[in-house]
Structure formats: C-alpha cells, structure tokens
Symmetry: C2
Amino acid sequence: MSKIVKELVASGMITDPESPKGALLAAATTLFRSQGYSRTTVRDIAKVVGIQSGSLFHHFRTKEDILEAVMAETIIVCTEQMKTAVSNTQLTPRKKIQALLECEIGAILGDTGRGLGVLVFEWDSLSNDKRNRVLQLRDIYEGIWLCVLEEAKSEGILVMEPALLRKFLTGALSWIVNWYNPQGDLRVPDLANLAMKMLVRT
Amino acid sequence: MSKIVKELVASGMITDPESPKGALLAAATTLFRSQGYSRTTVRDIAKVVGIQSGSLFHHFRTKEDILEAVMAETIIVCTEQMKTAVSNTQLTPRKKIQALLECEIGAILGDTGRGLGVLVFEWDSLSNDKRNRVLQLRDIYEGIWLCVLEEAKSEGILVMEPALLRKFLTGALSWIVNWYNPQGDLRVPDLANLAMKMLVRT
DNA sequence: AACTACCAAGCAAGCGCTTGGTTTGTAAAT
DNA sequence: ATTTACAAACCAAGCGCTTGCTTGGTAGTT
C-alpha cells in the first residue's frame, strides 16, 4: 500500500483496502468495470468477497452507494497523487504538464485504472445527488490541471486555450484503456511524451 | 431524409427510418443512449413506439439484436458519409483531414450522435459474435482515416504516427459529447479547426 | 454489554421472451 | 367489382427467472 493511500486511510478520507469493506469495494470496482454496473448483481459482488448477498447491506445501504464510494475514493486518491506530482513549485510549466500527464496516464493504466474506468463509463448510472457530490471531487481534480495549464498559457506554449485543451485531453487519455497493450513497447512516459506533442507547440 | 440514407435503404443496407422497424430502432437508440442498454427494458422501447412489449419480438429475435442493429446501421451511415467527404482526390492531405474531422464531429453532434454514443458506451454490452461483426464495419470506417493520415504522414505534417494519432483523436472526439454545449459559440468547423491544431505541425 | 461482521431464508417487483390469436394492408383470382 | 389469399404488424396474457433488498438471528471480539 502506498504512502498516500495510508495517509488517506488514517485521516478517514477513504476505506482501508485491507478491511472487509475495502475488499468489498475492490471487488465491486473490478466487476463494475468488467461487466458494467447494472449487469453486476449484488450476488456477483458477494460471491467474489465470499459472503452472502444480503450481508453486503451491512456495509452499504444500497448498491448505488457502493458505486458512489468506488468513484469518490478513486478520485480522492488520484487527486492526492496529482497534488504531490506538481508540489515542486520550481518546475517549469512544461515539466509540470509532463508530470501531470505521467501521473494521470499512470493512474489510468495502474491500480486506480479500474476505478477511473468506472468513473467514465458508469457516470450516468449515478443518481443526481450522488453524481453532484462526486462532481465536486472531480472539480478539485480538474482544478489542478487548469492551474498548471494557465501557467503554460502565460508562456505561450499551448496550442489552444487551457479549458478546451483539457477537454480534448481528457477524452484522448480516457480512451487509452480501449487500445493500450501492456505487452507492447509503449510505457507510461512514452505515452506522456506523445500526448505532450499534441498539447504544446514545438 | 438525406440522399445517402435513401440510397442505403434502397440497397437494403439499413432499415427504412419511416418503417415501423425503423421507428423502433430510433426509439431504442435514444433510450440506449440516455439510460444505458441494460437499464432500458423492452417495455420502455415498446412504450415509446406505442406497441406492446411482446410485439417487439416480431421485428427482432432478442433485445441484443436491437443493439447490434443500432450500432451496425450507425456505422454504415457514417462510413458512407466519410467516403463522400474524401471522394475528391484532388484535395491536399490537410484538406482531407479537415473534411474528415468536420464529418466525424458533425456525426457526433448530429443525427447519428446518439448511435455513435451507443457504440462507445455500450460496446461491452454486445456478445462476442455480434461485436466481431460490428468490429468489421468499424475497421472499414477506420481504414478511411488511416488512409488519409498516411498521405499526410508522407508530407511530414503530422505530430506523430498515424495509428497512434488516430487513437488519441478517437478519444478526444468521442469525449466531445460530454462537454459540448449547443448554446455556446463553438460550431462544428470551429471544433474541427481546434482538433487540427493538435494533429499537425504549425 | 455492545459492536462488527455475517448467515439463512425469502419477499415483491421487474425482467426478457413466448404463446395463440386478431387486425390490417395489399394484391392476385374470380 | 368482389372475393380470396396471405403476410406483416400487433395484442393480451403470462411463464420462469433474476433482481435489490429485508428480516431475524448468530458468532466472535472488545
């Protein structure tokens, strides 16, 4: 378990992955990503964890609460990693963008990848209240990106306005999961370098 | 109804939108996009069309057959539009890319947008056989893009290899539906121009 | 004594799909 | 001009199964 995750567990921001509830969330994340939320039954989740389906409702009030928790905790972890990535204020805007790209692509292809996939593909499965709550967490995350891109804009190196650029970038990076092959030659830094070519003037 | 659609109907490639079966497909497309495939019931679809739920199965053997038809017919229409867009061999690679961008973005934000959304978000809802069949249609579509991008590559104007560039581009464009606001200032050609800035060197 | 974590059983509602029969439009046969 | 034939389109009813969730109770730990 990473240092960042440990701190977030200690501060009560996320569920301990080693607790029964955490195991439940991990199982749900994998299933939601691979089968979709609505095709995943509470019995499916219970089976993976090794408990009765009714016992899920000791940990969560509804199935949708599980989905919200998966999304919220994923963003919280990723946001913390992003903050760390650009915490060095000495870095040039270019270096900061590079750092954020590697961080986000690493998150997409790493442990938090399934959770981020759930965020993208099951966004509409959340009811309004829950979606708005998760959206607030997303806004914090996006704020980090926009802040760095604004710095880069003031140096005149971006190919378009920060807000628009980030929207195109979000799509391009989210889509990586649909074609990336871990057995291929491309590693996270390579992908970050490629993405960089689309963002800044040469 | 556009000329291209009429021809495809006449040649039996797609269902006549004005037939009962076509109305059914249109209703299913809208519902699959707005609620998701598995949250949409055959009773939902029937209600929109104005028939009994059981009567759906006079037109399609299973609910999943409806999904396949929605996806397949959407690609067929878009492919035909793309072919038309680059049919003028006199165009420079730059102009061809511009034409394809406007065509694809127009499709995403226009009538075929819901169908394309279903293709992106419900891809995993298809069983293997059906998905492979739709994939073949997709390959034809992608072939048009790669062909044009290869032309552009030989002129040395692309920021990266055609195959990779197209993958990033697919994500960036697919994502547009999640943030585009028709009430805003951006029109299809504007979006195409912006996308162009990410693809080619200046 | 209180709390967390769980089981065993099952309910009410909703699901995709089937069945047997009816209506409707069209076109050839009388 | 009327009848006959036939297929496409649809209805009414419901079957068998799965769904999210509830209930009342138990075992172990603190």
